[in-house]
Symmetry: C2
Amino acid sequence: MDTKQTYKSCTHNKQVNCNQCQLNTICMPVSIQIKDLDKLDSIIQRGKPLHKGEYLFHVNDPFTSVYAVRSGALKTHLLSENGQEQITGFYLPGEVLGMDGLGNGLHTNSVQALDTSSVCKIPFDQLEELSVKLPSLQRHFMQLMSREITQEQQMIGLLNQKNAESRIASLLLSISSRNKRRDLSANSFLLPMSRKDLGNFLGITTETVSRIFARLQSRGLIATAQKEVTLLDIEGLQTLAKT
Amino acid sequence: MDTKQTYKSCTHNKQVNCNQCQLNTICMPVSIQIKDLDKLDSIIQRGKPLHKGEYLFHVNDPFTSVYAVRSGALKTHLLSENGQEQITGFYLPGEVLGMDGLGNGLHTNSVQALDTSSVCKIPFDQLEELSVKLPSLQRHFMQLMSREITQEQQMIGLLNQKNAESRIASLLLSISSRNKRRDLSANSFLLPMSRKDLGNFLGITTETVSRIFARLQSRGLIATAQKEVTLLDIEGLQTLAKT
DNA sequence: CGATCCATTGAAAGATGTCAAGCGTAGTGG
DNA sequence: CCACTACGCTTGACATCTTTCAATGGATCG
């Protein structure tokens, strides 16, 4: 059984616990001992999967929990002042979201499934309690938040300094490396989001996204077939991404 | 003695502790009791002021502490992949920075004084220790990080959806409201950063910054004299900021 | 099978960037 | 104290990129 298979079976088994989950080295710290992982496991709630388009929570919902993505993909988005939707992130399996609500007790984002997705719900008050007993858990959780900050700062850099072409290249490489981390193919994958979402996130219009995809394809850097993308020249893309 | 004066005297007195600090309701939670504030105070280190251009820490420096700005102003910046400086934030008195290093133990930003500035250094290991005894402190610290995430998401929205004019308007209003929080004038203030830094942060060139300032001035929305900015029509600016 | 949404492509317009020159200000050293 | 220099800021003309508007084709889902 290859890792992909293992992962797939994990997807549909709601009962799998943290110890057995293929993703635990991503979403939870290596530093947590197995017996501690059991404790963590005991507070985690696993609900039924979200269907495409369904919401995990909405802006201004009271913050109660953080969530680890188990399968599928989700987008977080908020309404900016002018009433436009602004996508703030895409979340793939093993990644943790929901920390936005901790600031003032209300979520600042809405979270919507891009595809059928399942998540582990981790009630924050219990996590906090457990953190007192497990200092490494507290540290890990803060590290997750810190990395989120760093990621978003890099996003700001991307938006400020890169043209549309290198934004797309960067995003494709980001998805690629996140897939690799999960032992999936780094070269060929399904983009979970629409061109529109992609453009919204990267700050360019759908039309431009489309044109860039066509351009990259004509140059032999990628191949596309609807949602499927194959990276044909990763080095070339990396060069592009560095504008 | 007006608040501005009080604040100014605070600036030059290195000995002032958290209890006496005019900024403690900003950088520290209201929820911390006075006696607890004493404990926090005891771990805080106060160094000599940084001069303009000096660094508080550099990218890849080991993470040891977080810092509360006491006076002056600082910018955080990182080198993006293409080797360009990217400013990721401006920090004014009462604001806390340095959480970027928590993720993997190394700072992902450099921090540089925009003007003579003093900061309180809060060693993180001691803060963590203290957090175990003071759950409200731990919670507050996570809230600071969460708000940082939210702020940066809003920044992403700004960069994605707003033109140069409303970016500038948004930044001016942001500085204004942060001044107000410190009981300084919300209408008239000195911009601590250069046009170049401002443009770098907002993702526009110095020339465009200059042109927009001229345009806003000709429309009677602001008045400028070098670093000094007066907001003449805050409502007008707010309308602009909403694209 | 139709309806709807999503994606693609073209042509024109608009915004910002680039290049270049000139001006003001602040700081330096005589 | 003044003059000089360096740097930051401003302004103009032009180039470039992306958006906007519009039309068409294709996929998906009831």
